[in-house]
Structures are given as structure tokens and as C-alpha cells.
């Protein structure tokens, strides 16, 4: 039995690379694979970073605690509960925590952080958190410790650096005790937290004798009794009894919409990336066909031929993956910078860029899969038994066309079904839509080329006539379709993402406008977290403020977060005399006017629809709100989630005051006298509050802009993934076009020998490329618009965000134009160089 070993395969491989044309084409294939791998890796990094960051927080903070008692409101609960918990038989350790959202200001800037007051005894649980601090430092210094990146960001340099803390509206000085590195606190180093001794934290927060949580570790053998006792204690004290890692669940619910959205975008990006890599391989089909047709008559067995091709694929895959991983890493660093802004109001969430082995493995697997499929699939017929009687070519051609049309049609049906029946399956719908695009592309492409042929005939141009001939040549069909498919996928991805992003943006803008326009001027604590005013502060002299010229009405606004099940809900209690306590345009079920009246009168609440569905509540139904003091209310209406993924509740100020046992405001809402400039009144209020350094005054317009900027930050990853797809698309197309030009050189040489001039040939190349790209981009844009609808409905169903459903033709047109123009422009110089080849008759290759 003849055997050709690896040395023989290497011999053939080296011989092939001796041809410059082959070397360059393989180089383009490597670039194409690299772009696909880079896109896949970078989009996966984006999807995993946020979730993993939060998971690390709990690992660092908790150590070995099993359960916790958690306050239901921002004011916390009495420290007296701690002694009772410690007295429960079986409890080994009970560790108190105080948490407050504060604003931290340093020499170079300010940041909203989560102030965490801890007890030294957390060290015994195995948590690494406070080891960096000595006992004396923690016990005696009125100071805080910060993660090093945060300290650098605000300019806190050196031990005992002076900083300013703002809690509510109160400002006070503090010192930096230590900066903590990743070796000290692991992933927490990337989070906006400030750590202090618990006594100091209580003093700073103005909450003496108060706690936010108690983490408990107990003997496992007495688990049942301990848990039962702790549950009773919690119930009697109106606190929640939950697992130690409960915040992870709350965070998972809060981030779920964003995670699912990113998963959809990442999934589509991954698919597009894989197709880029595959299309790059398909451009090398002609030279591989020639190799196989050369080897088979010499007696090469099917296995020998497959080995040779697989070594090809392996070489391309290795190089492409190495380059792609490096490029993907660079892209993820360069593109992903923002923080999930709105989630930081309720969770100490940072922005760590985390590269998991799964992301790398997936990117590599896709790169190799594209290489192997791209090498073997196009030559499968040649590898088949040559002595098998073949059916006649027209029959085979018809059968293949029928199969493509059938599969494409079925996939379109599946996508439509997904859109109408189950938008949660949007990933499946998108995959089906991409398959439909690829199956129907050859027919649409032929139609567009025929249309161009008609136009060309009318124009009677030589260059366009050559282009039509070349586009219809069977030998170059695979290459032409590969380039058109690359362009189509590129535009498809960009159009879908941009359209979905635009719909989401419009919905959020509308929601924010509805929320913030309930007052013309807002009086709020300084700092970023006042976008969702949930931190109470000492009431100001409202009598004096109400007398400021131009102030028509002044009311206290209250807000908080409430954990109900796995949701950290945003609770809103607008001023009692506000005209529209329920944001117009956000009501899904119920009457807006009636709901507003009911909320004003008290005893009624407006819920987010997802929240109501989870608890089987409908309009008019009564329920008990699990607030610090449980309150019985009825459902007045159902709304969107007002831009807060876990959901929101709107109450009257009186209901809130009863339920939270507190009347301190979180903000003030001011209406101005008609005819008076809002900006003028704002300035007057600012002057009147000059002594209140911790408070800020802004108009509703200013607030909307700030609100939208923060909310948009949290969704910026979707924009970044879209940018990734666009970058990858341009790179993939440039590579494909250059490869096409390179392959054309022999044909150019032949035509030159027949007397065609360089200008005509150059115009031919541009014309052919323009037709290819236009056809591909147009097809991609049409399918992309359909995908916009699918993606928008998916986001609405998954996120609960207020999304405006529309089709964005501007996105389609601009993407189409951008990709086509960039690729054709990129072609100009290589095309010119290609037509400068020497004329020759025939090609060395068959």
C-alpha cells in the first residue's frame, strides 16, 4: 500500500507556496480567518465581562458566609438584632455590614461609590478583603480604603490623602487609609467601592447603631434549626432572610436583559465572524481545485488528497487564529471602555475586562472550522468516487437550485414564525435568517447581475460589458458569490444592530423624557447617583425656597430600592401635588388619568408589567408590598420598566412615608410660574441654596441629558459590538477585494494581449467590484431591515425596556453606502497596479 507521509505533504505544500500568487492568496485567507476570529473573540469578551465582574465581587466580600439578613430599605435596621442573631444556638459567626451609596471627591475628580463598613472579624471567614489593613488602622483611623484604580482616577495618592465624602446632601472630609490591589481584593479591585471600619461608616452615614446586613456562618449539622430561628428573627424585624450570595441573583436579574441583548448581538457577531472566515477560504477554491484535478489522475487516493487539504487548513487555521486572537484582544481593549452606568446605582459594579478560556476556545474552534470547511466543502464532488455514474449536469444543477430555494424559503418562514410567535427565540430566528440569506443570495445575485447587464447594454460600455461577462463566468462564480456574501453579511449585521440600537435609544429617550419632565427644576444631591434619587437627605427649608421668585410649586420626591424576590426594584414616590405622577407614554395596561388620580390619593401603586406578571397581579388587585413596614396597596396601572430592568413601582408620598417609616426626601420637584424663564428660576434657587454645598439644582432638560448619558452607558456595549462588526466587515471586504484583484491578474494579462487598454481594464475591475459589492450590500440591507424587527421585538420581550418599533432605512442606506464606498475606494490603487501587468497569452495554470 502506497503511503505518502507528512514529509511528502510538506513537500507539496512548500512547492505550492513557491508560486507567488498562491502565497498571496493564502495570505488573504489567513487575514480573512483572523478577522473572523477577532470579531468572535472580542464580542464574546464583551458578553462575559460584566457578569463575571459581579460574580467576583461576592467571592471577595463574603468568604464563607452561608446566609444573610438584609435590610429592606436604605435606612437599614437596628444593631440590636446583631446580638439576637449571635445568641441563636449553632451560629458560629455573625458579621455586620453597613452599606451606603456615597459620592467621593478627590483632587482629580469625583465618583459615586458604595461605602462598605466592615467588621474586622470578617477575616475569620476567609474573605481576603480586609487583610491589607492592620487592626489598629481599621479600629482607630477615621479613614477609608480604596481600590487602586479608583484611587488613581480621583487623584487620591499617598496614605492619608484628603478626600471629600458626600452622603445625601451632607459633605464631610475623610482620609485615605490604604489603596488595595488585585492581590489584596481580587476582582473587587475594579469595582467602585470604599471600605471603612463599621463604626466610622455609621458615623459618616449619619446612621449610628444601624446595619444594612448581617452575614452569618453556622454549624452545618444544625442547619435546619439555625435557619428556622434566623427566619423568625428576620420576620419579626422586618428584614429579609436570604442566601449570602443573594446579591448575585439580584444582579443577574438586573443585568439579564443586558446580558441577553449582548448574547444576541454577540451570537450574531460570532456567526458573521465565522462567515467572514469561511468566505475568505472560499476565495482560494480555484487554486485548490486545480491542485486536486492535478493529483487525482496521478493516482492520489482520496485520503492522500484529504490529508493535503487538511494540512493546508491547519496551516491557515493556526496562522489565522494567532493573528485573530491578537487582533481580537486589541479590539476588545480599544473598543470596550465604558461602565454599566445605570446598574452602578444599585450594585457596586465595576468594569473588568475578563477573557475566559471558553471565549478563546470558541474563537479558535470557529477559525479552524472555517478553514476546514472552506478547504473541503467546495471540492467534495471531486473527492467523490470518479467511477460513480454521474447524473447529467443540468439535472444536478436543477436539484441543487431546488434545494437552495426550499431551504431558504423554510428558513424565512421560521424567522417569520419566530417574529410572530416567540421573540425570545431571536437567536434562532437570526440564524435562520442568515441561512436564508446565503441560500437565496445566488438567485438574487444573478437577478441583480442581469439587471446590471441590461443597464450595461444600454450604456454600451466596454468595461461594463467585460464585467458582465466575467460575473457570469462559471469558473469565477464561487469567488464572486463569496465576495457578495461577505458584503451581504457585513451590511446585514451592521443594519440590524444599528436599527435595533436606534429603536432602543428612541424608546429610552421617550421614557426618560416622561420621567424627568414631571418637574421643571430638580433639587437633588450632587453626584451621578442622583439620576435615580434613592438616597434620602435632611429636608431643606422649603418655606424659604417656595418664596423664591418664579417658584410656583415645591414638593418632596422620595425614592428607594426594594428587593422583592429576585428583583431589586426602583421605588418612586413623586411629590404629592405633582400633576403627572405616572409617566405618560409608559402605561401598558390601565387608564393614565385614573391611575394618576389614584396614586395621588394614596393606597394605590403602579407596577412594571414584568413584575406584575411574576406575582400574578392585574389592575385593581390588592397586594402587600414587602417594604420595611409592609403596606397594603392596589394596582393602579401597569407600565414598562421605566428603563430599570428589574422593574419599578410608583407610590404616593404618603404610602411611601408609611411603608418606609421615613419622610426625608431624595429630591425636590419644582414647578415654575408660567412666563418665567426656567433657567432664571434655577439660578435663583441655586443662590438661595448656596450654603447647601451637597445639593445641586438642574432643569429638566439638563437632567434628561444627564439621565440619558448614564443610561446609554449601560447599553454602550451593544454599540461597541456594532462597531466591532463594522470594523471587521470593512477588514474582511478589503481582504476579499484585494484577493479578487490578485486573482484577476492573469486574466488582465490575457486581455491586455488582446489589445485592451489599461484604462478600460481598470474601469472593468472597478465596475465588477462595484457590482459585486452593490449586489451583496443590497441583499444584506434588505435582510438586515427584517432582522431589525426581529431584534427589536426580542429586546422588548427580554429587557422590558420601552422600545419604539420602527424600521430604520437610514441605517440600511448609510451602512450600504459606507461599506460599498470604502471597499471600492480601497480597490482603486490595487486595481491600478493590477492592470499594469505585462500582457501575455494564456495562463500557466489551466
Amino acid at each position: 500500500m502506497t503511503r505518502m507521509g507528512l514529509s511528502g505533504i510538506r513537500y507539496i505544500y512548500e512547492a505550492r507556496l513557491g508560486a507567488r500568487a498562491v502565497l498571496i492568496q493564502e495570505g488573504f485567507a489567513v487575514v480573512g480567518i483572523a478577522v473572523g476570529v477577532a470579531l468572535l473573540l472580542a464580542s464574546q469578551i464583551s458578553a462575559t465581562s460584566l457578569t463575571r465582574s459581579e460574580a467576583q465581587l461576592n467571592t471577595q466580600l463574603l468568604g464563607g458566609a452561608q446566609v444573610q439578613l438584609d435590610a429592606r430599605g436604605p435606612e437599614g435596621f437596628s444593631e440590636a438584632l446583631l446580638a439576637r442573631v449571635r445568641a441563636v444556638p449553632g451560629v458560629r459567626l455573625a458579621l455586620p455590614i453597613l452599606e451606603r451609596q456615597v459620592n467621593l471627591t478627590g483632587p482629580r475628580g469625583e465618583r459615586s461609590v458604595d461605602l462598605i463598613g466592615v467588621d474586622l472579624r470578617m477575616v475569620r471567614l476567609g474573605g481576603r478583603l480586609p487583610r491589607r489593613l492592620s487592626a489598629s488602622q481599621l479600629a482607630t483611623l477615621p479613614a477609608i480604603a480604596l481600590p487602586e484604580p479608583l484611587a488613581l482616577e480621583i487623584g487620591a495618592v499617598g496614605t492619608l490623602a484628603r478626600l471629600e465624602l458626600q452622603v445625601g446632601a451632607r459633605l464631610q472630609k475623610t482620609l485615605l487609609a490604604a489603596t488595595l490591589r488585585e492581590a489584596d481584593i481580587g476582582g473587587l479591585v475594579h469595582s467602585p467601592v470604599a471600605i471603612a471600619p463599621i463604626r466610622y461608616a455609621q458615623r459618616v452615614a449619619g446612621a449610628p447603631g444601624e446595619l444594612s446586613r448581617i452575614f452569618v456562618r453556622y454549624e452545618e449539622a444544625r442547619s435546619g434549626a439555625v435557619r428556622a430561628a434566623l427566619a423568625r428573627l428576620a420576620a419579626s424585624s422586618n428584614v429579609s432572610f436570604v442566601p449570602a450570595g443573594f446579591d448575585s441573583r439580584l444582579f443577574a436579574v438586573a443585568v439579564a436583559p443586558e446580558s441577553k441583548s449582548e448574547a444576541l448581538f454577540s451570537g450574531i457577531s460570532a456567526l458573521v465572524g465565522f462567515m467572514f472566515a469561511l468566505n475568505a477560504m472560499l476565495l482560494t477554491v480555484p487554486q485548490r481545485r486545480r491542485l486536486i484535478e492535478d493529483l487525482l489522475p496521478d493516482g492520489a487516493t482520496r485520503w492522500m488528497t484529504t490529508q493535503i487539504l487538511l494540512v493546508d487548513a491547519a496551516a491557515l487555521g493556526v496562522l489565522g487564529c494567532i493573528l485573530g486572537l491578537a487582533l481580537g484582544d486589541i479590539l476588545s481593549i480599544a473598543v470596550f471602555r465604558s461602565t454599566p452606568g445605570y446598574l452602578a446605582f444599585a450594585f457596586p459594579v465595576g468594569n473588568a475586562r475578563i477573557v475566559t478560556w471558553q471565549s478563546v476556545a470558541l474563537a479558535i474552534a470557529a477559525g479552524f472550522a472555517a478553514a476546514v470547511i472552506g478547504v473541503l466543502w467546495p471540492v467534495r464532488e471531486i473527492l467523490a468516487r470518479p467511477l460513480r455514474p454521474r447524473s447529467s449536469s443540468p439535472d444536478r444543477h436543477r436539484a441543487r437550485n431546488a434545494a437552495l430555494l426550499t431551504v431558504g424559503g423554510l428558513c424565512l418562514l421560521l424567522t417569520t414564525f419566530t417574529l410572530l410567535a416567540d421573540t425570545h427565540a431571536a437567536v434562532v430566528g437570526n440564524v435562520a435568517l442568515v441561512i436564508a440569506l446565503l441560500c437565496l443570495l445566488p438567485f438574487l445575485f444573478d437577478g441583480l447581475v442581469s439587471a446590471f447587464a441590461c443597464v450595461s447594454h444600454l450604456l454600451n460600455g466596454v468595461a461594463s460589458a467585460i464585467a458582465v461577462t466575467e460575473l457570469r463566468t462559471p469558473q469565477t462564480r464561487v469567488r464572486s458569490l463569496a465576495i457578495a456574501a461577505t458584503a451581504a453579511l457585513a451590511v446585514f449585521g451592521v443594519v440590524e444592530f444599528q436599527g435595533v440600537g436606534t429603536n432602543l435609544k428612541r424608546g429610552l429617550e421617550s421614557s426618560i423624557r416622561n420621567m424627568d419632565s414631571s418637574a421643571e427644576i430638580w433639587l437633588i444631591p450632587r453626584g451621578r447617583s442622583s439620576i435615580q434619587p434613592t438616597t434620602p437627605f435632611t429636608a431643606v427649608n422649603t418655606v424659604a425656597l417656595a418664596r423664591v421668585p418664579g417658584v410656583s410649586r415645591l414638593g418632596a420626591y422620595r425614592g428607594s430600592f426594594l428587593d422583592w424576590g429576585d428583583r431589586r426594584l426602583w421605588v418612586i414616590a413623586p411629590a404629592s401635588d405633582i400633576e403627572h405622577p405616572v409617566p405618560a407614554g409608559q402605561v401598558i395596561s390601565g387608564n393614565l388619568k385614573l391611575a394618576s388620580e389614584r396614586v395621588r390619593q394614596g393606597g394605590w401603586a403602579v407596577l412594571s408589567q414584568d413584575l406584575a406578571s411574576e406575582h400574578h397581579l392585574h389592575v385593581g388587585q390588592a397586594f402587600t408590598l414587602p417594604s420595611p413596614r409592609p403596606e397594603r396597596v392596589r394596582v393602579a396601572a401597569l407600565t414598562t420598566n421605566l428603563g430599570w430592568p428589574p422593574g419599578a413601582i410608583i407610590l404616593s408620598s404618603s404610602s411611601y412615608a408609611r411603608a418606609w417609616a421615613g419622610s426625608d426626601p431624595s429630591a425636590y420637584e419644582i414647578q415654575t410660574t408660567p412666563g418665567v424663564s426656567v433657567v432664571t428660576v434655577r439660578n435663583r434657587v441655586r443662590n438661595a441654596l448656596a450654603s447647601e454645598a451637597g445639593l445641586a439644582v438642574e432643569t429638566s432638560s439638563e437632567r434628561e441629558r444627564r439621565h440619558y448619558a448614564v443610561t446609554a452607558q449601560g447599553l454602550s456595549r451593544l454599540t461597541q459590538i456594532r462597531l466591532l462588526v463594522l470594523i471587521a466587515a470593512v477588514l474582511a471586504l478589503v481582504g476579499a477585494i484585494w484577493a479578487m484583484i490578485w486573482q484577476r491578474r492573469d486574466r488582465v494579462a490575457e486581455l491586455k494581449s488582446e489589445g485592451y487598454g489599461e484604462l478600460v481594464l481598470w474601469r472593468w475591475l472597478l465596475c465588477e467590484a462595484a457590482v459585486l459589492l452593490t449586489a451583496g450590500c443590497l441583499i444584506g440591507a434588505i435582510f438586515g431591515i427584517y432582522a431589525q424587527l426581529l431584534g427589536s421585538h426580542f429586546l422588548a420581550a427580554v429587557t422590558g425596556f420601552p422600545i419604539v418599533f420602527s424600521v430604520d432605512p437610514i441605517a440600511a442606506i448609510s451602512s450600504f453606502a459606507l461599506v460599498t464606498v470604502v471597499a471600492v475606494v480601497v480597490l482603486v490603487v490595487p486595481g491600478y497596479r493590477a492592470v499594469r501587468v505585462r500582457p501575455r497569452t494564456g495562463s500557466l495554470a489551466r
Binding site: T2, R3, M4, G5, S7, G8, Y11, I12, A15, R16, L17, G18, A19, R20, A21, V22, R290, L291, D294, L295, L296, P297, D298, G299, A300, T301, R302, M304, R385, P386, L387, R388, P389, R390, S392, S393, P394, L844, A845, R846
Partner: protein, 235 residues
Amino acid sequence: MLELRDLVKHYRVDGGEPIHAVDGVSMTIARGELVVLHGPSGSGKTTLLELIAGLQAPDSGSVLVDGRDVLAMSRREADSYRLHDLGIIRHSLPPGWRAIQSASLKLLLANGREAKRLTEPLMGQLGLGDRLAHRTEQLSMGERQRVLIVRALSNDPKLLLADEPTGNLDTQNTRKVLALLRGLARKRELAVLLVTHDPQAAAYADRVHELRDGRLRAYRPDQGLVASEPSGPGA
């Protein structure tokens, strides 16, 4: 050595009459014989070669090589037949390859590492000893043709098929190549089937046939076409 019995191969064209590429061809070629096959373009010459090589299956008929039916062979037997018993001289070399790489390709499939070493003497015999490292673009047309011949002969086949081996050559080189093939047929006792348009080939052949409309005719340049030889169904 080679016996063709009533070979038939028709191609069906969508909406048109079937094309009778090979229509009942019968022929024998003995060892040491050089047979030339003329025919206009589209007459079925290349199809006939592919049938003999086992690269296509006929509609009917048989191809016997030393008594073995090529068409009844398994895939493995057919690959072995092409590798060890058959040599095919092609039109052109792959661009960029060195002469020794092109020439030793067939032997590489059979012998792996020894291929290059075993091919070099044959290259020398055909006057290519100092051209081993030259790339295709650096060889003259005649030299390229000789490289193709080396490749086809490198595994010492019994049957040699040549499809227009002198198509790109000038008169002088054509004669050299034809004389070379004639000499190889005699010396190595090869059965050679040479497909060509070139009328000079007849002078080097033991027999000349013409393939027209799928049917075989005997051809003598001094006498013109003679009556059809027994060929086709029922002959």
C-alpha cells in the same frame, strides 16, 4: 496491453440532443506501440482519455488493461492503476513549482521521501539535469514539456496517455518530443496513445486514427481517410 470494447459515452444537454462524445469505440494498443488519435475539437478525444484513465464512467463498454477491466475496479484498485500502471502527460505545469518538484510529484504519492532522488536520473536522461531547481516560469516550453514527460514516466507505467503534448511547441521542439515519445515507447515497451492536432505526429506513429462524432476511423496521411474500421454498435 490496452483494449477498448464498444465504449459509449453520451452527454445530455438540457433541452437539446444528446452529445455522442464516444459512440462505440473499439481499439487495441500493444506494448511498444505508439498510436496517434486525431480529431477536431469536441470530437471526444479528451473524453476517451478520461474513460481509459478511469476518471469517468462510460454508459457502456469496457476498458481492459492487461486483461483487467478498469471500470470494474474498486476505488482503491483504480487509484493504484493510475498510480502504478498509467502515466498521463498534461498540458501545463503548476506555476511557481521547481522542475524537480513538478517532475517528482507522481512518484511522491507512491514513494514519499525517495521521490526526489529517484526522479533526478530521469531528469538527466531527458536533458534537464541542470534545470532541477528552475521554476516553471524559468523553463522554456520544450523544457516544460519534458518535465511533464518525466512526471508521467517517473513511476514506470505500462500505458502512457498524452493529451496534446506538443500544443505549445514550435516545429523543432515538436519533433524532438515526438521522437522522444517514439523512443520511449520502443525502449520501455510502453503502450502510448497520443492525442494531437499536429499532422507531424503521424510520421512517428505505428497507427493513426481519427475520432469524429464519437466514432473511430483509421487514418493514413498518404491515403486520406479510409473506410471506417469496425467500430460502433453491432460492428
